[in-house]
């Protein structure tokens, strides 16, 4: 499906405004839209969180399940991230199995969390070589008003911080009872930049995504380490631009982390 023709006009306006370092919604170049967090959104989930980043609306639910560990890591559990661009979220999303965009989104959020080592996979082991916890993180996009990467990573972190581990009896899950919270040793988050007419902005909204040449997402932790990077779009970045984005990613993600005080 084609999107509303008005977006082309808005995107032209974005390109014009950026020449004088202004944005369509009046934000500063490195300013996020307002963030609203609602944890414990779904009682049937083991952990859940709904995030509103401006008008972007994302719901993430976590389910813990027992499965056989991978042969190359018999003493470890793992995480699995899925993303669904629900057709209600945008006139351009269509029902069906995950497309390229949904798959990229899920995999970048996955890397940001996995590589940060915030979850110790060894602690997810139940019986070596036989049973381990697998953490299923499912992302549902309810409204796409831009920057699904950061909204999804915020919601995934919120859901993981809310996650309780089901109680085990004879290595079987006891429904509705929990043995404790899932341990998270740090708070990995994505920070996404758009390059529009040679200028960098953070947290691009829809009109800015339509106007951008390229996108850069950087996963960071509070220890000033990076856990993932992903460049998207057909444009390019210079080394200096990437270095600027890295500095900003540390700064901006620290501001976002404050929304999750208790961890």
């Amino acid at each position: 499906m084609r999107d509303d023709i008005l977006w082309e006009l808005r995107s032209d306006k974005v390109k014009e405004l950026i020449k004088v370092s202004q944005r369509l919604d009046g934000r500063g170049l490195f300013e996020y839209r307002p963030v609203q967090i609602e944890t414990g959104f779904s009682k049937n989930a083991h952990g859940s969180c709904r995030i509103r980043l401006g008008e972007t609306d994302v719901i993430v639910g976590v389910k813990m399940d027992i499965a056989e560990p991978y042969p190359d890591s018999p003493d470890e559990g793992s995480i699995t991230v899925g993303a669904e661009l629900m057709p209600m979220a945008s006139p351009v999303f269509e029902p069906g199995p995950p497309d390229q965009n949904a798959t990229e989104l899920a995999r970048v959020v996955d890397r940001c969390i996995r590589e940060s080592k915030a979850i110790d996979f060894k602690k997810l082991s139940i019986v070596e070589g036989e049973k381990a916890w697998f953490v299923f993180i499912d992302i549902y996009i309810a409204n796409d008003a831009g920057n699904l990467f950061d909204a999804s990573s915020l919601a995934a972190l919120g859901a993981l911080l809310d996650t309780k581990i089901p109680k085990l009896e004879d290595d079987k899950i006891v429904k509705g009872e929990y043995s404790g919270k899932l341990e998270l040793s740090k708070k990995p988050l994505l920070t996404t930049f758009a390059k529009i007419n040679g200028k960098i902005v953070v947290d691009p909204a829809t009109a800015e995504e339509k106007a951008m040449d390229a996108r850069l997402s950087i996963g960071t932790t509070e220890e000033a380490l990076m856990s993932a990077m992903q460049k998207g779009g057909t444009g390019s970045f210079t080394q200096a631009e990437i270095e600027q984005c890295i500095e900003l990613a540390f700064q901006k993600s620290d501001e976002l982390r404050k929304f999750f005080k208790v961890g």
Binding site: M1, F41, S42, K43, N44, A45, H46, S48, E55, D57, I59, G61, V62, K63, D65, G82, E84, M86, P87, M88, A89, S90, P91, P95, P97, F136, D138, Y140, A142, N143, D144, A145, K175, T206
Partner: protein, 268 residues
């Protein structure tokens, strides 16, 4: 196993409700900015979002109907919305619910006014405890009204059934799991009481069915009132905002009439 008391001496159910009492229902229209119409519903523990698009050109062309719009209702459940993680792939249950719910709404919508188009209604359940199809259908009809799609009436749904010999409204999960359980999801156009969705499972006599059905009609009527209130509240809010905007303009006009110099200064 411990015996469950489905209805106690005071006539109260497991969750404290009376036999003819619905769970608390909250509906908010216009919650998704990119959909043409939308609604959020909380019905007991059930939570659902609905987004509506259309009427828009039906693609591919061969699915077009030159006499009317296609109503494409897609009901899905999030993986974490049920006790055991559900596969993200749609199951047979979701496909069947999508079909009968779409057919229910097609009766209410003036489909003949929009040939060759599709009206897409996307529903997702994020938390569940029995009765999600009725919650979803109820919210979908509000989302259609929010999208400004012309309808004969809203569609109001609720389930009715039996647990431990008692006919009751809006069964919760534990009641649905009773050994003698009967579950009957029902949807009507309340103005004319036309039945647009009816399903039932369980074994029941003609007399009990009639009692259940009539209780179901009363339930749908209550749902109807909640739907109308939710829609009216939205327009009241819009009216309030407009009143504020008009007040602002009036104030500016008054200032200008008192001090015409302001006009000559103009905007920079």
């Amino acid at each position: 196993m411990e015996e469950i008391v489905y209805v106690n001496a005071e006539g109260r159910r497991i969750d404290g409700r009376k036999l003819d009492e619905l769970r608390p229902i909250k509906i908010i229209p216009s919650v998704l900015s990119r959909a043409e119409g939308s609604a959020y519903i909380e019905w007991g523990q059930n939570k659902a979002l609905v987004g509506v698009f259309g009427p828009r050109e039906a693609i591919p062309q061969h699915i077009q109907d030159p006499t009317k719009a296609i109503v494409n209702y897609v009901y899905r459940m999030a993986t974490f919305s049920v006790p055991d993680r559900k596969s993200p792939k749609p199951g047979r249950r979701e496909i069947e619910i999508s079909k009968v719910s779409g057919e229910a709404l097609a009766k209410a919508i003036f489909v003949e006014r929009f040939p060759n188009t599709t009206i897409d209604i996307y529903v997702h359940i994020f938390d569940s405890n029995a009765g999600t199809r009725c919650a979803a259908l109820t919210a979908a009809s509000v989302a259609l009204a929010d999208a400004g799609i012309p309808m004969r009436d809203l569609v109001s749904a609720c389930a009715v059934g039996r647990a431990a010999g008692h006919i009751m409204l809006d069964l919760c999960k534990e009641e649905e799991d009773a050994t003698d359980a009967v579950d009957m999801p029902l949807a009507i156009m309340p103005r004319t009481k036309e039945v647009v969705l009816l399903q039932m499972d369980g074994i029941i006599s003609k007399e009990e069915w009639k009692e259940a059905f009539e209780l179901g009609l009363k339930g749908c009527q209550q749902v109807y009132e909640i739907q109308k209130k939710a829609l009216k509240r939205k327009y009241e809010e819009i009216a309030e905002e407009e009143a504020k905007a008009i007040e602002h303009v009036d104030k500016q006009l008054k200032e200008i009439s008192e001090n015409p110099e302001l006009l000559r200064g103009g905007n920079k």
